[in-house]
Symmetry: D2
Subunit: 149 residues, 4 copies
């Protein structure tokens, strides 16, 4: 995938993978990096009954977790080496019930500013292009300031 973004940190991939591995939530939910590059990431995960809602579909929070993390790590690929990334906000639209065996949460950076990054993301069933849910979000880069914005 070509995104036209130039990473500020040549070692971004290792940094992102280390951060991803340090996130308990990803491990707990069985989420892993399917691919990552400058300004984008794909997260793969499987259906899990523990994270289902009352009709047996993937809970909206399960979906949102994958997309939120995808946006955060996509943003992180373009940040300076010592930056921490926090989510400022996102909106999610649920377009179709999520009832596949396997999913992809794909995010890409649309605008990478010095402080703020704007990302778009979508959830699909693995092997499909049809969006089950979409997200747009704002992330903030925090450098040497602790983690408060």
């Amino acid at each position: 995938m070509m995104t036209g973004h130039t990473p500020r940190d040549p070692d971004f991939e290792e940094r992102v993978r280390t951060s991803f591995d340090g996130q308990n939530m990803m491990r707990t939910m069985g989420m892993s990096i399917a691919s990552v590059g400058p300004g984008f990431i794909d997260i793969a995960f499987n259906h899990d009954d523990r994270f289902a809602q009352q009709h047996g579909f993937a809970h909206g929070g399960f979906v949102a977790t994958s997309l939120d993390s995808a946006c955060g790590f996509a943003a992180l690929t373009l940040m300076v080496p010592n930056a921490a990334v926090l989510t400022v906000e996102y909106k999610i639209n649920y377009l179709r019930p999520a009832r596949a065996d396997a999913y992809r949460a794909s995010a890409h950076v649309v605008k990478s500013g010095r402080t703020l990054t704007y990302c778009e993301a979508a959830l699909t069933a693995a092997g499909s292009d049809e969006a089950l849910a979409t997200m747009t979000g704002t992330l903030i880069s925090l450098v040497d300031t602790g983690i408060e914005n």
Copy 2:
């Protein structure tokens, strides 16, 4: 809490509690109903390292799950008996890192229409009034139509 809403179903509380109990995600994340009434619900839950992000705080998806469910069940309190509730969309703003021992996710209905419901919700540390995150969301009532919108 007085909300001025009149339930369309006198047995709404039993219906909401049954639906809540049928949602694996709430059980998996240790979330329970602290209080519920016409047009509102409070969900209580504790910090859980399994759902933490890379800095040790509650993952945004953990927070979003609690608020999304709170909006959904608050909306459901005012729906007709045979309605299913689905989330159409929400926006969440993360205002402060979530690093408390216990949380409350509180949602209330602002507008309950025949088809659409609009809710507002906030996450606080238990015993505090300070919002750590806020959500506004749209829910849809699906009656006798399957679960597609």
Copy 3:
């Protein structure tokens, strides 16, 4: 532009143009239809000092008006003949200050349901592909029910 959408009304274009022409706001702001088809619309308009903010750029409300209308009319292209369209919600992200002479507000339908439609839109300077602002929105089709949702 191919969108893969099939209009429910073969006369959708005339219906959309009539509705657009009946909207004072579009006339007041000098907005016109540059192109329209099943599931998409492009709205063209020029900078206008009357709708500027304090730094001389296009006011966020000027931008939002163009994108909101674009989403609404894109959704309307796919609705049944007697439907009225209302905006349920949208989020807008402002990515760059808008200070061009001419703009395009382009919207396309991602999911067209019986009741709800989900659209995505972007503002660009005319002749540019760079998004100045993006919008995701939910529209509702109201048929024979008056205009309340």
Copy 4:
């Protein structure tokens, strides 16, 4: 109205009024400051057929303009003297058709950070408490950096 916010600039009111008066959009749409204080503002305006949609109600963009400006100026009341305020993002939910003679767009700051401010706002008919539309938004304070984020 008590908000508990302490302005960083004792002359915030004059600064906000000067900025408001410098915004053509407010003058064009007949919007004025009804009240302003640390962390909040109320903007008053009247129905105007020029800014109506196809059913004769206030256009969503007219409503959004009032709420966006209200959020921006509420945020500005708490910023340092040399700050410029820009809108990062907002979501608006339209709850009821807007067809009153006069309106109030009221915004208050929920969280005022050094860089980012989070505001909530609502549109009501003058003299009513019923929300016709609600907004949540993120604003950024730009100091000595030009107006890019």
